[in-house]
């Protein structure tokens, strides 16, 4: 018979234990509270979606599509495959176009996992706290998203958070100016998204009119408005269409700088996602990428909806959990137990436990392995209690006495 694996847990999947779960809940709660403060409503999309939502050009890159979990469902005799949600933005775009499309702006948030195969044994289930701002909000929408993300992150007491900004239009304009046919543009874009900068030399060879190296754009990370203006002055003369995305980026950077945020600027931020069409944002803390997002004005039409512009971001829960403390543990409660194993004493213990919980005290009727509280022995319906505190027994006559005694001990 074949070899036995050391764990029965599926590869690439994680168990979450109570301490870590407390940190995850704190992140989700801080995120949800911030979203509600900014007027967003919570949604959730299904874990299974049709594969074709994700395969259209302009949605996910081929590299990402090579790593989705797709299969024929039990009713998949028609040959149409389904997929375990590999991306929440596309799923949210589908939800919007089918269920919420109406004039005005839709402001949605969610906390849910995406599932993608990883070759290296890394986690294949990635929880995200995401926001989608769907409607004609323009640059103001992008600014709101950056500010909302920073608001949510501020509640987590993280090390300094860095904002990085880019504009997907920059790469698209350069590739179009290089005169690459549509399919070659797509291939070059895939290589750039994949971090392959050798393609920059190939593009430069097709742009003899350049009077500054393209590497100025693709290799240098800028520090704010000054860099954006430098790039505009160096390259927009030779590639006039660059002015549009650079001006849009400059406006957003100027607003953020005036608000006390100092964004870094990169030409390529959004790896492996093709749906971004405008401003792209990324958030980092202590060297870890803790969030990313951007504008995706063509996506909703690609998944069958009307041509509604939109933008969004997601915070990555796992790296945030690694950087975050959980909420302080709750005050130790008590474990109540009947004096005898009789039905009458059990019923009395249950009733006393309910009364104590109603008074805001944490009461276990079965003490857990990690129980740190005191032991309360219930001596029948009218028999009172013995509170065992650090080995000393204290006789109490009523629930009110117990509440009073525990209150004194806090």
């Amino acid at each position: 018979m074949p070899e036995v694996a050391s764990t029965q847990r599926a590869r690439g999947m994680r168990d979450v234990l109570p301490d870590e779960m407390a940190r995850l809940r704190r992140i989700e709660a801080a995120f949800a509270a911030a979203c509600r403060r900014w007027g967003y409503g919570e949604v959730r999309t299904p874990v299974i979606e049709p594969l074709h939502l994700f395969t259209a050009a302009g949605t996910l890159s081929p590299q990402t599509l090579d790593h989705v979990y797709s299969f024929l469902d039990w009713d998949g005799w028609s040959g149409e495959r389904v997929v375990l949600r590999p991306d929440s933005t596309i799923a949210a775009a589908r939800l919007y176009s089918e269920r919420l499309a109406s004039p005005g702006v839709a402001k949605l948030f969610y906390s849910q996992p995406v599932l993608r195969f990883t070759d290296d044994g890394a986690s294949r289930e990635e929880w995200q706290c995401g926001v989608e701002l769907i409607g004609d909000t323009g640059r103001a929408g992008d600014i709101e998203l950056v500010a909302l993300a920073l608001d949510a992150l501020a509640a987590l007491d993280l090390p300094r958070v860095t904002v990085r900004l880019s504009h997907a239009g920059i790469v698209r304009v350069v590739l179009a100016a290089a005169g690459l046919p549509a399919d070659a543009q797509s291939a070059a874009y895939d290589r750039l998204l994949d971090g392959d900068l050798t393609v920059v030399d190939e593009i430069e060879a097709r742009l003899p009119q350049l009077n500054a190296p393209l590497r100025l754009l693709f290799e240098i990370e800028g520090a704010g408005l000054g860099y954006v203006q430098n790039v505009r002055a160096s390259l927009a003369g030779a590639i006039p269409a660059l002015a549009g995305p650079l001006d849009e980026l400059a406006f957003i950077v100027e607003v953020l700088e005036a608000s006390g945020v100092a964004p870094r600027i990169s030409a390529v931020l959004a790896r492996r996602f093709e749906y971004y069409s405008g401003t792209v944002m990324s958030f980092e803390s202590a060297g870890q990428r803790v969030g990313a997002g951007g504008r995706y004005d063509e996506l909703i039409a690609l998944v069958g909806g009307a041509g509604v512009p939109a933008s969004g971001f997601a915070l990555f829960v796992q790296p945030l959990a690694d950087l975050t403390r959980g909420d302080p543990p709750p005050a130790p409660g008590i474990a109540i137990e009947p004096e005898s194993d009789s039905p009458r004493d059990h019923a009395a213990a249950l009733a006393a436990a309910a009364a104590l919980r109603a008074a805001g005290i944490s009461v276990a009727t079965i003490a857990g392995a990690a129980s740190r509280g005191h032991r309360l022995i219930c001596r029948g319906a009218d028999g009172g209690f013995t509170l065992d505190r650090d080995g000393r027994g204290l006789v109490l006559h009523s629930v009110d006495d117990v509440i009073g005694e525990l209150g004194r001990g806090r």
């Binding site: 029965q8 599509l65 040959g79």
Partner: protein, 462 residues
């Protein structure tokens, strides 16, 4: 002690010659012996498989070294990129190309691609950035599907002329394939195979011709919805079910020209007005009927069952049990003391509590269903394309296979633990019946099959 997986079929003669030249010749393999397992001089073992099964067997670590076409390695790689197969060398024979081919000049909005290489076809569709597509993995005869039943076929052919000879238009060479020597990564890492490896890797053979998938930049096939069908379409089986299908047709008084004997014709003529025939693999029929490509099909109840356990809500149903081609599906084991499946599971669990019970079968969905329903606990299904004799106990704990009288099972010292399904050939249809004139033709044809099934000669015939 080396464990060697060798191909039957087209690569057998050249592989035997390669082994001979390398000083590892196996006389019985070279002579075409029907045996599937051979002992080697150095204490090793060689096992003959259908070529498609070899990468799977080597990836699982059941065999250290194997010979198969690089096309089948790519089929495994596209589905399981982290598999444990390493290519040792190209052997320079058995060359073919996987061609993307079409027959029509239009395609369905949700493009239909058929292939025996389904995982490669899915990868091609992804790399072509097709917005909406469906890939149908077939057991064979992909060349027969376009244009009516598929928009594209991914088929193995020697060259473009060979594709054209099949009546298709070659669009793009997707992958060049030739025979390869492969090994299990963990075997190379942990077992001393040096004596055999030194011989197998020395001299002869060609350079490594493994190449990445190549896909056409775009597809010049405009979308078009299918035109309404004016005829009733029926699929007839090739292979071992064909003689029984011929007998049924005779009994039904239906003459199908070019099907009774002689060279195989994929689109034979029929002497019933308003009916069109195509000959495909019986394994693939249920899905084609579910899709509505065919109104009727003659297949086996085993393959209908396999389809229905995979897709319980499929609209395919049996309309006539034709009563021929009779055999049972059984769970076969070897060297097990228990006399039922539950007892065998307890026995294997006692031996190795956490190891998966390996269930091998050509009927992958039935095998999965069987293991689930028998509460096998941790199990793995090993799909096999054939040549299953000798699979248990070395390569699987249970073999799910069709058996007739059981004499061959007994002759091989195997045990039938449970015969759980009786198969005959049958006529299947989609629950949505055709209407109008087509409906009349459909009903009349079903009636003729029903009468043929009731003919006394059908009873008990194999």
């Amino acid at each position: 002690m080396i464990r060697l997986a060798l191909p039957t079929g087209d690569l057998r003669r050249d592989s035997a010659a390669f082994l001979e030249a390398a000083g590892c010749g196996i006389a019985d393999y070279a002579s075409g012996s029907r045996a599937l397992r051979f002992s080697l001089d150095d204490g090793g073992v060689a096992r003959v498989f259908r070529e498609k099964d070899i990468p799977v067997q080597v990836a699982l670590g059941q065999y250290d070294i194997g010979i198969c076409s690089s096309g089948w390695i790519e089929e495994l790689t596209q589905r399981f990129p982290g598999h444990d197969v390493v290519r040792l060398r190209d052997l320079g024979y058995g060359a073919f190309t996987l061609w993307l081919a079409a027959a029509g000049d239009r395609c369905a909005p949700s493009l239909r691609i058929v292939s025996e290489y389904a995982n490669v076809a899915i990868a091609v569709a992804r790399r072509m950035r097709l917005a909406r597509y469906r890939v149908f993995g077939l057991h064979g005869a992909a060349e027969a599907y376009p244009p009516e039943d598929a928009d594209l076929a991914l088929i193995a052919a020697r060259d473009a002329a060979a594709v054209e000879a099949l009546g298709l238009r070659p669009l793009w060479p997707v992958l060049r394939s030739s025979a390869c020597l492969i090994a299990n990564r963990r075997s190379i890492a942990a077992r001393d195979l040096s004596r055999s490896l030194a011989r197998l890797l020395e001299g002869g053979g060609g350079a490594d011709s493994s190449a990445a998938l190549s896909v056409p930049p775009k597809l010049d096939l405009p979308f078009a919805d299918a035109a309404p069908r004016g005829v009733v379409r029926i699929a007839l089986p090739d292979g071992h079910q064909q003689p029984d299908a011929v007998a049924v047709l005779h009994a039904a008084g239906v003459r199908v020209h070019g099907y009774d004997d002689g060279p195989l014709v994929r689109r034979p003529g029929i002497d019933v007005d308003g009916v069109e025939v195509k000959v495909i693999r019986p394994q693939d029929m249920a899905q084609q009927v579910a899709l509505g490509q065919f109104d009727l099909a003659v297949t086996g109840r085993d393959w209908l069952f396999d389809h229905l356990v995979e897709f319980p809500s499929s609209p395919v149903e049996q309309v006539v049990d034709l009563g021929r081609c009779r055999y049972g599906l059984a769970a076969i084991v070897k060297d097990v003391a228990a006399n039922d499946v539950a007892g065998a599971i307890r026995e294997w669990r006692a031996r190795s509590p956490q190891a998966p019970i390996r269930v091998a079968s050509e009927y992958a969905n039935i095998a999965d269903h069987f293991a689930r329903e028998r509460h096998a606990g941790r199990y793995s299904v090993i799909p096999i394309a054939g040549a299953s004799e000798g699979f248990v106990p070395d390569d699987a704990e249970i073999l799910i296979e069709g058996i007739d009288t059981g004499s061959s099972v007994r002759a091989n010292n195997l045990t039938v633990l449970e015969r759980f399904f009786e198969s005959t050939n049958c006529l299947i249809a989609n629950k949505s019946r055709p209407h109008g004139a087509r409906g009349d033709v459909f009903d009349a044809l079903v009636e003729r099959f029903r009468a043929a099934a009731l003919a006394p000669a059908a009873a008990g015939r194999r």
